[in-house]
């Protein structure tokens, strides 16, 4: 502990000098373009850096850890002031994080964490998947207000951590409310087309009139399900209430038309809180907590969804 | 000599029925120790069925098998092997990627401490093969050796496992002359050891060369058994076919051929065939003679465009033509029946009907299909004209016998109405009846004015139908024989002379 304090002290001694000497230079190692959300995260991170006058060095790892390690080493060699890392996998980071620590460059993890001693990075900015599920469940609890409601669930890819956690959170929120029951649950693989296919089978198996609400682990599946509901001659949003997670532009478009009811934002703005923490640290040495949880904001029909759509549609989703 | 002993194997009244057919009808057969017994008959006569009943591959429906005077009933080929009856087939059924020693001792390798005693096994293999006069490295994979060596290894394995009766089912079908001698020397050694050997083949010359007695089957019945010492080939063929064959060598039509059809000048390809000149006229059969590897097949393939010539020119009726691919050649109404019928000729799973029209359809293009009626008319006409024996035009061609497959291939090309027909080993591996028919067909086509080029290793055959014979050696033309010069003796001399000249 002593040693750590000393290290921080010495870091404090040097870093502010460089920060004052020139604008901040920060390296960002991104996973790659695996999804629309990922693309939006990249866009927002670049915007946040520009807003603060930070020189952002961006490296796309194309889904490969070795590329990320290479990028971090090159950031270290260039002597950047801090490194943002969205790790592609959880393990295998110890060595390169040690190297960063040795050169006293703080590392902030975005969106995912790693299996490494937590003194090897400054903080991790992530959302809480279980909490997202809870917000969705709580919305439905409030919306139904005790009325009986049979729910169908579109799960994410079987076995993936978002699917497990978002299911868990939702179930926690609705437990104890006997009016709410999940009557069917099947995977839609997080994709629009599977969401549509599986919703079709729900509608046939249960009958559209017997489904009161749909909970989808992501918005893409909800968008697919909305089409299935329309093709079955029902009104999504009215006949079947729809709540999903992520807050991608297309779900806001649907909400603007009243075809979906609620979405919980998985914000692509992980860089904002990260850079806030970094600036506070550089200014007066405030150590951020090891985990910064992003806000899981609930959007409902009361929000101006058309405006949210316009705002988000160019982020690269 | 043999009849004074008691037989090692005796079949009494063996019968086998297939639905709607009697495959074997009370067949008797006696095998004496130390004799080579040829089993002869046209395709479908019942040779294979009899062998399969003996080895337990089929269950016989009647009769008994006596081995050393005791009745046996092998239920599988392994069973018969244990009893002492070993079999070697034309297609060597060993494992080509294993070593020779492993193939010999597979399943009964000498062991030491739970491991295969490699060195001991190699020594044993070497000794074993030395007995057969074969000097090879037993540690090499089997596939690195020729088919003949593989055949001998198969025989050695069979003899080691069994040791009383050895059945050789067409062991020499894919061997050349020297290789046949190797296999024959092995057979002689086994004969001296007192084994009874059954020899099945289509080559009558080989039968007379190696066998003591022959049993002829026809339509599932034994027609007769002969001591070969006092018998002629004609006698045997007569037994097999049930009719007197016309004399196979007859008066050759005068070699007054028609106009020049095709002329090749300085035609060849580096590393494949030395450049050569060749002229073929209408109504003429040009024979290509030579040892294996002398360039017979290469010449055929070059002219047909299957191998792309890199020098020389080709003239068709005086006009320069390009022969870059079989399609080019077919466009000029050339046709080629290739040597390797199975790999380059038939399309095994397609029906006989489809095989017959294949070349004609390919020439017409896929978007102009032949009308169904026309297809049937063509197929039926050729089946009749060439006497192709089949159950149905819809059956896959691979189920036909070799001779019938060859006739279908001839039909395929005749259907394209070719002006120039190249035949590469047209009678290889086919039975006597089909053999004679194909030779007659060649004559008929020549009389009709077609130009033919026939490559063959059967010298008598070449002599019978050729109007000219070109002798090849080491991928070069060495001699051309015309008219009365065409005799087997002269062809052999032409090959041999050249060899002597080379040696000097």
């Amino acid at each position: 502990m002593k040693l750590k304090a000393m290290l921080i002290a010495s870091a404090m001694a040097f870093v502010p000098v460089t920060a004052m000497a020139a604008d901040l230079t920060i390296g960002f190692s991104q996973i790659g373009s695996e999804s629309g959300w990922r693309a939006a995260e990249t866009t927002v991170t670049k915007q946040e850096a520009e807003k603060r006058g930070i020189d952002l060095k961006f490296a796309d790892a194309q889904q490969k850890q070795e590329n990320q390690i290479k990028a971090i080493r090159s950031f270290i060699a260039q002597g950047v002031d801090a490194i943002l890392l969205a790790p592609v996998v959880a393990t295998g980071w110890d060595e390169v994080l040690e190297e960063a620590k040795d050169t006293e460059i703080p590392v902030i993890l975005l969106d995912r964490t790693v299996d490494a001693p937590d003194d090897l990075y400054m903080t991790a900015v992530t959302s809480d998947l279980v909490h997202e599920g809870e917000v969705a469940g709580q919305w439905l609890v409030d919306e139904t207000a005790g009325e009986k409601c049979d729910i169908v669930e579109l799960q994410g890819t079987t076995g993936s951590s978002p699917a497990i956690d978002r299911k868990k959170g939702f179930e926690q929120a609705i437990s104890g409310h006997d009016n709410l029951e999940i009557v069917r649950s099947q995977t839609g693989d997080f994709t629009r087309s599977q969401g549509k296919v599986v919703m079709e089978s729900f509608l046939k198996a249960l009958g559209g009139d017997n489904i009161c609400a749909l909970y989808a682990h992501n918005d893409d599946m909800a968008v697919g399900a909305i089409q299935a509901i329309k093709e079955a001659g029902l009104k999504p949003g009215e006949d079947i209430k729809i709540v999903s997670i992520d807050s991608v532009p297309d779900i806001h478009l649907a909400m603007a038309k009243g075809e979906a009811n609620a979405t919980i934002e998985l914000t692509p703005n992980m860089a904002g809180p990260a850079l806030d923490a970094l600036e506070a640290y550089l200014a007066d040495g405030t150590m951020p907590p090891k985990w910064i949880q992003t806000e899981s904001k609930l959007y409902t029909l009361e929000d101006d969804n058309q405006a949210v759509y316009e705002e988000k549609k160019d982020l690269g989703y | 000599m043999a009849s004074t002993q008691s037989p090692v194997l005796e079949c009494k009244g063996i019968s086998k029925f297939f639905p709607g057919a009697i495959a074997l009808d009370a067949v008797d057969l006696k095998l004496y120790p130390g004799e080579v017994h040829a089993l002869l008959g046209e395709n479908g006569a019942g040779k294979s069925t009899l062998i399969k009943c003996l080895t337990g591959a089929y269950r016989r429906d009647g009769g008994m098998i006596l081995l050393d005077g005791e009745e046996v009933s092998p239920r599988s080929t392994q069973d018969s092997q244990k009893l002492g009856i070993g079999t070697v087939y034309q297609e060597v059924n060993l494992l080509p990627n294993l070593t020779i020693a492993e193939n010999l001792f597979l399943g009964r390798q000498p062991m030491r401490g739970g491991f295969i005693a490699q060195r001991k096994m190699h020594a044993m293999a070497k000794d074993l093969l030395a007995e057969f006069g074969l000097k090879v490295n037993p540690a090499e994979p089997l596939e690195t050796y020729s088919v003949a060596v593989q055949q001998v290894v198969a025989i050695a394995r069979a003899v080691e496992l069994s040791g009383k009766v050895l059945i050789l089912d067409e062991p020499t079908a894919s061997l050349d002359r020297d290789e046949v001698q190797l296999v024959f020397s092995v057979i002689e050694k086994l004969k001296a050891r007192g084994l009874a050997i059954v020899f099945i083949t289509h080559f009558l010359d080989q039968v007379f060369e190696i066998s003591d007695r022959a049993t002829v089957l026809r339509n599932g019945r034994v027609i007769g058994t002969r001591e070969l010492a006092g018998t002629t080939q004609t006698d045997i063929v007569t037994l097999m076919l049930g009719r007197q064959l016309e004399d196979r060598i007859h008066d050759r039509a005068p070699s007054e051929a028609g106009d020049t059809l095709i002329e090749l000048k300085n035609f060849g390809r580096r590393g494949v065939m030395e450049p050569f000149d060749l002229t073929v006229r209408k109504g003429e059969v040009v024979g290509l003679a030579g040892l294996l590897g002398s360039g017979r097949t290469e010449t055929s393939n070059l002219i047909f465009g299957a191998i792309h010539a890199d020098q020389g020119e080709a003239l068709l009726e005086g006009q320069r033509i390009s022969l870059k691919s079989p399609r080019d050649a077919i466009g000029h109404r050339f046709a080629l029946c290739p040597e390797d019928r199975k790999n380059d000729g038939i399309v095994g799973d397609l029906s006989v009907r489809e095989n017959i029209i294949l070349a004609l359809q390919a020439r017409q293009g896929w978007f102009r299909p032949l009308p169904k009626a026309k297809i049937n008319e063509l197929a039926e006409a050729y089946v009749k004209a060439l006497d192709i024996r089949l159950a149905s035009l819809d059956m896959p061609i691979r189920l036909l016998s070799g001779g019938n497959q060859q006739k279908v291939l001839l039909a395929r090309w005749l259907a394209t109405n070719p002006s120039f027909l190249i035949l590469d080993e047209p009678t290889r591996g086919i039975d006597v009846g089909a053999h004679a028919e194909i030779i007659a067909l060649i004559e008929r086509l020549r009389e009709d004015g077609m130009a033919l080029l026939v490559a063959s290793s059967e010298l008598e055959e070449l002599v019978a139908y050729s109007t000219r014979v070109i002798v090849l050696r080491d991928r070069r033309q060495v001699r051309e024989l015309k008219g009365d010069e065409i005799t087997t003796a002269n062809i052999v001399t032409a090959i041999a002379d050249e060899q002597m000249a080379e040696a000097v």
Binding site: S33, S35, R38, A39, T158, G159, R184, S185, Q186, T187, D189, R192, S193, Q194, K196, V197, V198, E200, S201, A205, D220, G224, Q227, E231, A232, G233, D250, G316, Y317 | F18, P19, A23, G44, S48, T49, Y58, F304, A306, P326, R327, P338, N343, D344, I346, V347, D349, L350, E354, L358, Q361, A362, R363, Q364, W366, F367, A391, M395, L399, S401, R412
Partner: protein, 348 residues
């Protein structure tokens, strides 16, 4: 003519029986399975869903059957679907008509097929390797076109291809049935089918018989690319968006499986498009059983694997032979070997 119908029926009988069995299984888990209603101007029911959702696999397996008949394989079809969907979406998003988008996507698909065929026929690269190139690279190309997002569109003409109906029948069903009929007619009414089979059985013999094998091989890969493009457009139209990451993902394997369940040999030769299409429907019916059963999704892959294994085992030559023996020995007459052996006898 009658004999032709008879032989076709004989060929597809195993597939028909299996399809009926799997459909019956659907009925067991969901008694209303066979009910079809006319609702909102369209046919509505689980059976319709099987036909509709089976469309991508059915379209893919038409081309795949021909490719496999030439002893080839096309691993790139899933990626080509993504490329074609992305192409169609980007064309309508740029404000062009759906006809332009469809033609553009089909042209791109055909081009992809041509590329595969060129690698296989002219450069003599093994089909599995040649098509792997596009399988890996294709999704990247699609992502470049969509710029990594789900490219959403609202063009009603294009959407109609995936989500619309024609006289009450969902458009994808009409498309795959029509294309299946057209391709079958083309290969069977011309000599194309026979020549393709000849190449697959024995390319050397075919070439020496004067068949232009290279051109025909390019041709089958081109058809496969075309079918994949059509499937890609339908999948994109179905969700009103081109999803470069997920469209057609792993569908090449379903297509190959459909061809295999259809009783076509992966070693090339004789083929039946009709049987492959039944294979595609069998796969979709299996998917339907899983969805209708209501079991937790952890069971999905296990159930699918068990059913597919059962189907393939029933079709395996060993089991077929055993069934034959069983039937033969049930009869009073002594067991006779298969008639094939009698004919074969002559060749030895």
């Amino acid at each position: 003519m009658a004999s032709q119908v008879h032989s076709t029926m004989k060929r597809i009988m195993p597939q028909l029986i299996i399809l009926i069995a799997v459909l019956f299984l659907n009925f067991l888990v969901f008694p209303d399975f066979f009910r079809i209603e006319f609702q909102n101007g369209r046919l509505f029911g689980n059976l319709i869903d099987v036909l509709n959702r089976g469309a991508p696999t059915a379209l893919l397996c038409i081309g795949m059957t021909l490719v496999i008949a030439t002893k080839g394989i096309d691993l790139s079809v899933g990626a080509v679907m993504a490329i074609a969907g992305a192409t169609a979406a980007s064309i309508v998003v740029d404000g062009h008509s759906w006809q332009t988008a469809l033609l553009g996507a089909l042209a791109v698909g055909a081009l992809c097929g041509f590329w595969n065929g060129f690698l296989v026929a002219y450069l003599r690269i093994q089909p599995i390797v040649a098509t792997l190139v596009l399988m890996v690279a294709g999704r990247g190309i699609a992502q470049l076109i969509t710029e990594g997002t789900i490219l959403t569109f609202l063009n009603p003409g294009l959407i109609h291809l995936g989500a619309g109906t024609m006289v009450g029948v969902p458009t994808p069903i009409v498309i795959w049935v029509l294309l299946g009929l057209i391709v079958t007619a083309v290969v069977r009414k011309t000599a194309l089918g026979m020549l393709i089979e000849a190449i697959g059985i024995n390319e050397s013999s075919s070439r020496l018989a004067g068949i232009n094998s290279r051109v025909l091989i390019v041709c089958v890969y081109l058809i496969s690319g075309f079918c994949a493009a059509l499937a890609g457009v339908i999948v994109a139209a179905d969700i009103k968006g081109a999803d470069a990451n997920n469209a057609g993902l792993w569908l090449e394997l379903d297509a190959i499986l459909a061809v295999v369940i259809g009783g076509n040999s992966l070693l090339g030769g004789r083929f039946s498009i009709l049987a492959s299409l039944l294979g595609a429907l069998i796969i979709q019916s299996v998917n339907s059983v899983i969805l209708l059963s209501g079991l937790p999704p952890e069971f999905n892959l296990v159930i699918k694997a068990l059913l597919i294994i059962a189907i393939l085992v029933i079709q395996s030559p060993t089991v077929k032979h055993a069934l034959y023996i069983l039937r033969a020995s049930a009869e009073p007459t002594p067991p006779a070997p298969a008639p094939v052996q009698e004919v074969k006898e002559g060749t030895q």
